[in-house]
């Protein structure tokens, strides 16, 4: 970690101006995302999910806080680490798991694999596994919104690695120029694969980089779902009402290896101490405890939520496992669209 302060101060949870229903829904989603990933992890070594997975355990609060602030038809463009974004935005769970099993019933019919989740009806037009590749796409969706005057907001989720790419700079410039309703969400987990951010940027503060470009830049604790939500509720409203884009850095930590299941601390590029520090700040458990303590939710309600989550997941995995595989001779399907506009 050298001298970089990567662990932000936790502000504590505060429910002011948050509806109880939203507070609970966010908990449900946090639980869902965490549980889905633990389940994937549990089964991954069976080598039946024959596609790389990029778990977002530790980063769930970003996706959940952001998406809770969005409408269903708002756009979210995701990246390789997309499970959280997809589920938080309301993507179909069964289709996601089936995609991990590369089944015909998968959200991309087994063509895309884990890095290409899609659910158009849920406002998820697709995800790019090219680092930063989805950023200009999100700008394009915001452009559609602006030209069609639909009032929809577009969100680009990307990592700290994407902040190295020039296309981000270009995208921000154009979004500012056209005052497009797009939110640039940088999930700073301090690593791109094994490369620490201090080996890629000369100094701290991704969000500071764009302050000179006329875009409001923010930083919010990515482990605090309520802070994320409240900030994005405001930013989404601003964007919707024509104020243009915003850039938001959300620090959080990736608990697992870059890809695949399990911890990778044994690789040596980061320390167990660093991981432990963050693990104490679990975005799911700390929020659960807070809700219980505040009486926002009862133990029974909690149990019900978790049971529902677990049974949904169970059903999704069974569905996926039982689904048919794509037929080899359907290989050439879907290259072109043949409806003429």
């Amino acid at each position: 970690m050298r001298n970089w302060k990567i662990l932000p101060q936790h502000e504590g949870y505060c429910l002011e101006n948050v509806l109880q229903a939203d507070a609970i829904e966010m908990f449900r989603k946090l639980s869902l995302i965490r549980a889905v990933q633990l389940k994937i992890e549990e089964l991954y070594h069976h080598d039946e999910m024959k596609t790389p997975v990029h778990l977002c355990i530790g980063q769930e609060a970003i996706a959940v806080g952001v998406c809770q602030a969005l409408k269903k038809s708002d756009y979210v463009f995701s990246n390789h680490r997309g499970h959280g974004h997809y589920l938080a935005k309301g993507g179909d769970l069964r289709a996601m798991i089936a995609e991990l099993y590369c089944k015909e019933t998968g959200c991309s019919h087994g063509r895309g694999g884990s890095m290409h989740l899609v659910d158009v009806d849920a406002g998820l037009p697709g995800s790019s596994s090219i680092v930063a590749g989805g950023i200009p796409l999100a700008v394009g969706a915001a452009f559609s919104s602006s030209r069609k005057e639909t009032g929809l907001v577009s969100v680009a989720f990307f990592g700290d690695g994407a902040a190295d790419e020039g296309v981000l700079y270009e995208s921000i410039n154009f979004a500012v120029l056209e005052k497009l309703p797009v939110l640039f969400v940088c999930e700073n987990n301090f690593y791109a694969v094994c490369s620490p951010i201090f080996g890629r940027h000369a100094h701290d503060g991704i969000f500071k980089r764009f302050m000179g470009m006329g875009i409001p830049c923010h930083k919010v604790d990515g482990t605090n779902v309520l802070e994320v939500y409240k900030l994005f509720r405001k930013l989404a409203a601003d964007a919707r009402s024509g104020d243009g884009p915003a850039f938001i850095e959300c620090p959080a930590y990736r608990w697992r290896g870059h890809s695949g299941a399990g911890s990778d601390v044994n690789m040596g590029y980061r320390s167990q101490d660093e991981l432990d520090l963050w693990a104490k700040r679990c975005p799911v458990e700390s929020y659960r405890d807070f809700l219980l303590n505040k009486g926002v939710i009862t133990v029974t309600e909690l149990k019900n939520i978790n049971e529902k989550v677990d049974s949904d997941i169970e059903a999704a995995f069974i569905y996926a496992q039982k689904s048919a595989l794509p037929a080899g001779n359907d290989l050439m399907k879907w290259l072109f669209s043949y409806g003429k506009g």
Partner: protein, 347 residues
């Protein structure tokens, strides 16, 4: 005037020969402009962007005044951020718009390959049919503008290799409009490479909207001794060569594929069945370019049709030189085509 314009202005305005009595004659650039205008008028989701589309020269005249007529929300200049803007176009296409992104040189598309190849061309497939990318990418190649290696690349060979793209290279004013309207109507990414020298051409262009389907080539001249096939400005060179050859009693059939992706294989085989001899013409590089693919189709499926080796008349495998004496050696044209045909006939 900058040298880039001098040679072009000196070109004769070729009149398309296939027009009939009383038919409307229009310039090539105007026919593109008319297609844009009608498409903008016809569908509020169509928009045009590109560095200079609203400037006083209006992209070689093809966008003149459109930004005034339709407003800058629909026809607008861009920052020099080719990659992000290609991505932005793709993103807007995915979400219901029909972007047309114009570049005055294909060379600049090299900055956008991530978005064209990794995203636009794969999007629909990658998501199992969820989503589509109705995007038109338009760029102009030229010859003899003395601009050197970074402002002269005819990249059709590159794009032909990429699944998921359409590749269109018209040669007449009629085709320019019909193929452009087809491209705008198509729900997939289309690359149109225009040739600067054709923009001065004139020909019959119907006023109404019409579309020429992709993958349908056309016989520009019938002949029985040899087939000359290609696209774009090389068709003009081929036609001129054919006229000269006719004087020597050699009747060349000239095939214009019009689109390279898809490619009208049947037309080629049909002609070859008659002539048995083939000269392929292209103003791109030879190696692994468009002429290579056509050769491959023949050895795979039409070998029996060949009565002689195939000749490729293309640019050599070298960056474009700036100097005009070198350009003269670099660009293939009528003369090289004639020579190739004559060599074939002597075999």
């Amino acid at each position: 005037m900058p040298w880039t314009k001098v040679l072009v202005e000196k070109q004769e305005a070729i009149l398309d020969e296939h027009h009939g009595e009383g038919q409307r004659i229009l310039g090539y650039a105007d026919s593109i402009r008319e297609a844009f205008l009608q498409a903008l008028d016809n569908d509020p989701n169509v928009y045009i962007m590109g560095q200079g589309v609203d400037d006083p020269t209006g992209m070689f005249g093809t966008t003149l005044g459109l930004h005034q007529q339709f407003g800058r929300k629909r026809v607008f200049d861009t920052p020099l951020s080719e990659n992000a803007l290609m991505g932005m176009a793709v993103g807007s296409a995915i979400t219901g718009m029909r972007p047309i992104y114009m570049h005055n040189r294909p060379d600049f598309l090299l900055l956008t390959m991530d978005q064209i190849v990794n995203h636009a061309s794969k999007w629909r497939y990658m998501f199992g049919g969820h989503g589509q990318v109705p995007l038109v990418i338009w760029a102009v190649i030229g010859r003899g503008w003395g601009s050197g290696a970074q402002h002269s690349q005819a990249l059709q060979g590159f794009f032909m290799h990429i699944p998921g793209l359409r590749l269109v290279m018209p040669s007449t004013a009629y085709d320019a409009k019909g193929l452009l309207l087809e491209s705008i109507a198509d729900d997939n990414p289309v690359i149109i490479l225009e040739h600067r020298w054709l923009l001065k051409r004139r020909g019959y262009v119907p006023k109404e909207m019409y579309r020429i389907p992709f993958g349908k080539g056309i016989v520009r001249r019938t002949g029985s001794h040899v087939t000359i096939a290609g696209v774009s400005q090389m068709i003009v060179e081929a036609q001129q060569a054919a006229e000269e050859l006719a004087k020597a009693g050699i009747e060349a059939e000239v095939l214009d594929f019009r689109t390279l992706k898809p490619l009208d294989k049947e037309l080629l085989f049909h002609s070859l069945a008659k002539t048995g001899r083939l000269v392929l013409v292209d103003n791109g590089w030879k190696t692994a370019g468009i002429t290579a693919e056509i050769c491959a189709l023949i050895v795979e499926e039409g070998l029996d049709l060949l009565r002689a080796p195939v000749k490729r008349v293309t640019c050599p495998d070298i960056p474009t030189p700036a100097g005009y004496t070198l350009e003269a050696a670099f660009y293939p044209g009528q003369k090289q085509i004639q020579e190739a045909v004559q060599q074939l006939m002597n075999l």
